[in-house]
Symmetry: C2
Subunit: 159 residues, 2 copies
Amino acid sequence: MKDAEKTDSRPADLAAIGLDGYAPYLMNRIMGRYNATLRAEMGALGLSTAKMRALAILSARDGLQMSALGVYAVVEQSTLSRAIEGLETDGLVTRQTDEIDHRASRITLTAVGRAAFDRLWPHMLDAHDAMFAGITAGEREAFLTTLRQMLRNIRKHDF
Amino acid sequence: MKDAEKTDSRPADLAAIGLDGYAPYLMNRIMGRYNATLRAEMGALGLSTAKMRALAILSARDGLQMSALGVYAVVEQSTLSRAIEGLETDGLVTRQTDEIDHRASRITLTAVGRAAFDRLWPHMLDAHDAMFAGITAGEREAFLTTLRQMLRNIRKHDF
């Protein structure tokens, strides 16, 4: 199989390019470790992965509708609904009916929710910095540029 | 907050660098879409995400022990055990007791399992190629180099 391969042809199998040559494998490994690290650190604060991601996204994009929040946070709508209910009960977010689309609601961080994110953020930053150790600013910028292009390539939404 | 920031200081919050400047956000979005695409396509073949990943890893690293397979595939041991039992029942893998460590077993693809992977691989390759559309070979190589460094930075195992 390998002898028949040309540089521009499609590799015959995963062994032909190797695990380390298949970006989704590397990204799954990296994100698995990132998510496990934050889950372990934030479990003590009573924050599930869905709650953490909702707080983080809202800290940067407040007032999102539930459906858009689910896309940004990569959390299924049913899981997200439960997470937002929990955050609302604990006073971290509020829900308001959308002024234009009355069937939809917009989620907003409260001051308590903002304070919870402020405790979460140093852990997110540490996890981020651990990933990029030994990687130059230029390499990181090139990496981010490629990631943005990849997301534009495969996302189903306009954001 | 933003005025106080210097280029080399730690950003005050996620809004300061933006979602598109935080690599784990972009990687979660991309991998969420990649995994959803393969799950939808492979569900018809009766392959769960855990089974798909086990077949893919074994196609490149046959004869792994269960614990190492879980690390490579980023699947919890309990979920992986059930997936491997299912694959064994269906004749896609076999388990042999390790010759040195008699408490451990090694998982091997059968010819039927290899054939199942061969049906999965074109979908994995399509998902990969869709990600990298419009990205040059040089950019892709730089991206892979950064990913490999990131995995070395944060992994808990020697592989």
